[in-house]
Amino acid sequence: MSPRRAIAATLAAAAAVATLPWLTSDFALSLALTCVMYAGLTVSWSMFSGVTNYLSLATAAFFGIGAYVTAWGLGTLPYALLVPTGGLVAAAFAALFGAAVLHLRGAYFAVITFGLGELVRHAITYFEKTYAHTVGRVIVDVPGSTAVFLTVLAVSAAAVVTALAVRASRFGLALAGIGSDEARAETLGVGARRTKVAGFALSAFFAGALGAAMAVRWTYIEPNSVFNPFIGFQTVLISMVGGAATIAGPLAASVVFSLLTEFLRLQFPYLFLMLLGALLIALVLYLPGGLASLAPAVRAWLARRAAGDARG
């Protein structure tokens, strides 16, 4: 699909999903919200980490920073303004941090980005205790669930559109070159450092904006809940299960995974994490390219069926 058509399809799909608040129950809507949030988180994560192989575990940090922008700003600034602000603060933070650590690769980069989440969490806990004399913040005067859903949907749709545009751009080619052979890309004129910092910050923008948008879902915000490392791991896992080198893979996996998690949690409240773990191991072992690697087989099957239909 050409980038233009893919973007048009994304917008059409987002418009269709936007009708959900008027069609479904509260329960289904909150489930859909989780799906849409992970779609945005995983697609923006893959945009940088999936393409460059710089495996970042900092999603929780950016998400948490965005959430705290809302926690601190709600009541002063309108919600619609806090969401992009949360994104910008997270992006600025990612740019500074990225400039310092993006020369590290592999496990070193993963570990240090994980450390970043912990660092920010403790820094905010300390700051709140010392200067605000509080552990958490009660959020009042929150927007309704429809407004939250539509906002999260808008951010996630923007993430997908951005990922599509980046992939088709010169910037995307530079990121792909860095993922394939960074030193070689340098010898062909790519300023790898600046490109990586820009990609990392762009990816962080969406995690931050989603954190800012989701914050109002909690009535009580404290560092331990919004800097939840689980969000970071879940983002990486879903992206990999979907196929982190693609856009459609993480998107599809977000929906499947969020629904599956919910189903398992309700059906097997005690066993669900174990089942989830087993499923992940099986996927990683037998489908290392992620769900996206099934696409050619599915296409071939559809083509065969279409041919069969035409004959019959």
Partner: protein, 245 residues
């Protein structure tokens, strides 16, 4: 005098206690076809690393087209017109051959003139190299010999002033070495870019280049026309032996 595209002055590269390149100076003129020879471990590849900014020299100066680039990163060298291949081909394996060439065109080569229509875009560069039929094939699936050609294409996409070729003819049959040499000469003749070519196939190299530099244990042992270098007693003793004469 012809314009100098690259000037290395007293370049030294150390790896811990090992001096891989030892006070080497070299000026490459515009449109020159220069060969570098020397035994294994002489420091030829390391010298290329220094010339292309991949390795920062321990001491010495590097001037490209009049700008002092000493200590700058590799992409700055590339944007100033230094393009290279690697001894072990380093192509973007998952990208098609065409995308590999386009990569150079999009970054280092962006905004620089093509020189000739035969090098106008990725496709014509691949055609020039005789691998146009492989345009849509992922680079990782090409044979090593073709990956070497593709690397020349990636470098040409960068629209260089000087092209550094590190053993692009290694592992080829004699006939293939000949045709690669002819190709390299055409690149120089048609585009007027300087070519510095490292090769162990001394006999062929000597016939195609106008000037030869001999490196030995990191030092420059000789620098002159192929005839003069082949007759140089130090060179014969240290390296060539009976290989040429």
């Amino acid at each position: 005098m012809a314009e100098t595209v690259v000037a290395a002055t007293d370049v030294t590269v150390r790896f811990g206690g090992l001096v891989a390149v030892d006070h080497v100076s070299l000026e490459v003129a515009r449109g020159e076809l220069l060969g570098i020879i020397g035994p294994n471990g002489a420091g030829k590849t390391t010298f290329f690393h220094a010339l292309s900014g991949v390795v920062r020299p321990t001491s010495g100066r590097l001037v490209v087209a009049g700008d002092d680039l000493t200590g700058r990163p590799a992409h700055v060298f590339a944007r100033h017109g230094v393009a290279r291949t690697f001894q072990t081909p380093r192509v973007f394996r998952d990208m098609t051959a065409e995308a590999n060439v386009r990569f150079g065109l999009e970054f280092a080569g962006r905004g620089r003139p093509a020189g000739r229509d035969a090098f106008a875009d990725a496709r014509s560069i691949l055609d020039f190299l005789g691998i146009g039929a492989a345009a849509g094939v992922p680079a990782g699936e090409l044979t090593p010999a073709r990956q070497r050609l593709l690397e020349i294409g990636m470098a040409l996409g960068a629209r260089p002033r000087v092209l550094l070729l590190d053993e692009v003819a290694a592992g080829l049959t004699e006939a293939e070495v000949e045709s690669t040499a002819a190709l390299i000469r055409r690149v120089r003749d048609e585009l007027g870019i300087a070519v510095v070519w490292i090769e162990h196939a001394v006999r062929v190299l000597m016939r195609f280049v106008e000037r030869v530099v001999v490196l030995h244990q990191g030092r420059k042992l000789a620098d002159g026309t192929p005839g003069a270098v082949a007759a140089d007693r130090d060179v014969v003793e240290a390296y060539l032996g009976e290989a040429v004469i």
